[in-house]
């Protein structure tokens, strides 16, 4: 430290810079939240809308969490497939990723929930009939009785979101694994580890750590995209706010409320991701 530096000028400079460095955008968001809290509390229409729509928060969170958990598993498998030397798994994973990425998410959700799932049910039924025919009635009867009705729209929405996001997460996992130096795999193999052991104990722990922020960002994205399942009449906050708006014609109240709800969830999650990112970079 140089004590001889002209202190006064620096302090002036600091003050200017500190004003410029303030996260004004974040203060604006806080202001929005304060304003929203006020109108939800004080204005009767908004209060009514809030009470009506908050019923859907549970569905939104549950759908997002369960779908994300399945998407993580699918994504990891497909990501491993993408880098696999096995031609079958490699191409299967690539096909999956390309199919999903090439179709709009809205169309995919319709397709998986209204075409894909029923086709799967038909397949299970056919399997049941076949089991009965070859004399395995105890297996066949429940399988052929398995109907479309036993899969609610909520379940189908989760299937659709999982399958869609699994493809996105696959690319994140693939990038994470490929970001690890080749020498790591070679060192592990030179010690006698199998490919799978090296993946599990050496490569994946490092790869997952590297992509944690990206995985977090995709979770935020999935929370937002979960609003698309409202088209399946799943009563998440989007669907409930549509219902509210439709029955009361209070569009302003309905959509301000639902927007603030999404914003508070996503801002909170984004902050968590940032904290996580900072923690990780500190450890390096």
């Amino acid at each position: 430290m140089e004590p001889s530096a002209p202190k006064l000028d620096i302090r002036d400079d600091d003050r200017k810079r500190s004003l410029r460095d303030q996260p004004w955008w974040f203060y604006a968001i806080i202001l929005i939240f304060i304003w929203a809290a006020y109108i939800f509390y004080a204005r009767e229409n908004y209060n009514e809308a809030f009470q009506f729509i908050k019923v859907g928060i549970g569905v939104t969170i549950k759908t997002s969490l369960i779908s994300y958990a399945f998407a993580l598993i699918l994504g990891l498998l497909a990501g491993l497939g993408r880098i696999s030397k096995n031609i079958f798994f490699n191409n299967l994973a690539r096909l999956y990723v390309e199919l999903i990425r090439g179709i709009p998410m809205l169309v995919l959700i319709f397709f998986i929930a209204l075409v894909g799932v029923p086709m799967l049910v038909d397949g299970v039924n056919a399997l049941g009939v076949w089991f009965t025919e070859i004399g395995l009635g105890f297996l066949g009867t429940p399988l052929s009785a398995f109907g479309n009705k036993s899969l609610t729209m909520n379940t189908r929405a989760i299937v659709a979101l999982s399958v869609t996001y699994g493809a996105f997460l696959a690319e994140i996992f693939r990038a994470g694994i490929q970001s690890i130096e080749r020498g790591q795999m070679e060192a592990a193999r030179s010690l006698g580890m199998s490919y799978g052991q090296a993946m599990r104990h050496i490569i994946l722990p490092q790869a997952v750590r590297n992509v944690l922020p990206a995985l977090g960002n995709d979770f935020v994205a999935m929370v937002k995209d979960s609003s698309l399942v409202s088209i399946l009449a799943v009563r998440d906050i989007t669907q409930v706010s549509r219902l509210y708006a439709g029955s009361t014609f209070r569009f302003r109240e309905a959509y301000i409320t639902v927007s603030v709800m999404y914003l508070s969830i996503t801002v909170m999650l984004s902050l968590l991701v940032q904290v996580m990112e900072r923690r990780l970079s500190k450890n390096d």
Partner: protein, 248 residues
């Protein structure tokens, strides 16, 4: 089964990378307990030969025999043979998410199936052997290059290998750290470990090597004792190479 005379046997080894002939017909026998130093210009196939010995690189054609067993395509057999062949890399390749101790423990647990306490004891013994027991709980990023390389040697030794391969173990080190790694290697040599070392450390070759191999263009040009290689090399290519590296 009688013990084979040579613990490493390479027969007519070829390795092509596209048009490049990294190995062009290599034959080599290494007897138990011998220390072999491999020298040669960059791109001469030294590292490729080393990596073929434990099949990190599968040869295009030819045979590799380790302790009487031929290396083939069977992954399970390869994994078993690799536990007998330790390898030390130029860039250490320590696992950055694990501490020094965990680096030495992980393969013992996963591959050898040793219990945690047993693996820990062996790992501490090996860290003592390479002289850095006090760094056991430190992550690789907080170790100097020389310390990292010594942990890497301990990691390989903890598997109780019969053979150790060194792929330019001191090339990435600052000069003041080279000695600490060479000292560990010298101790190993004295203890009778079979070693194949790609290195240009002439002092090490003189004091530890039983045989020196000079490679060029994917072939073994000269295979003799260190004394003969340095004092009266037979081949022109060897003379030229030695004059280049010994000039200063």
């Amino acid at each position: 089964m009688t013990r084979p005379e040579n613990i490493i046997v390479l027969k007519d080894l070829y390795k092509h990378f596209g048009e490049v002939r990294a190995l062009d017909g290599v034959n080599l026998n290494v007897a138990q307990g011998k220390v072999i130093v491999v020298i040669g210009p960059s791109g001469s196939g030294k590292s490729t030969m080393l990596r073929c010995i434990n099949h990190l690189e599968a040869p295009t054609s030819g045979e590799v025999w380790i302790d009487g067993q031929q290396l083939g395509k069977n992954e399970k057999e390869l994994n078993e043979i690799r536990t007998e062949v330790g390898m030390v890399f130029q860039l250490f390749n320590l696992f950055p998410h694990l501490t020094a101790l965990e680096n030495v423990m992980i393969a013992q647990k996963v591959v050898r199936g040793r219990s945690k306490s047993e693996a820990r004891k062996i790992a501490m013994d090996q860290l003592n052997r390479v002289g850095i027991p006090e760094k056991a709980d430190v992550h690789p990023s907080n170790l100097s290059g020389g310390q990292q390389q010594r942990v890497a040697i301990a990691r390989a030794l903890a598997m109780n290998p019969k053979i150790m391969l060194f792929d330019e173990p001191t090339s990435a080190l600052d000069p003041e750290m080279i000695k600490e790694v060479l000292d560990v290697m010298l101790d190993l040599a004295k203890e009778g470990m079979t070693m194949v070392c790609v290195t240009h450390e002439m002092g090490f070759a003189r004091s530890a090597a039983d045989e020196v191999i000079f490679m060029d263009n994917g072939q073994i040009v000269e295979h003799t004792t260190p004394h003969d290689l340095y004092n009266n090399p037979k081949e022109e290519r060897t003379k030229l190479f030695l004059s280049q590296i010994l000039q200063h």
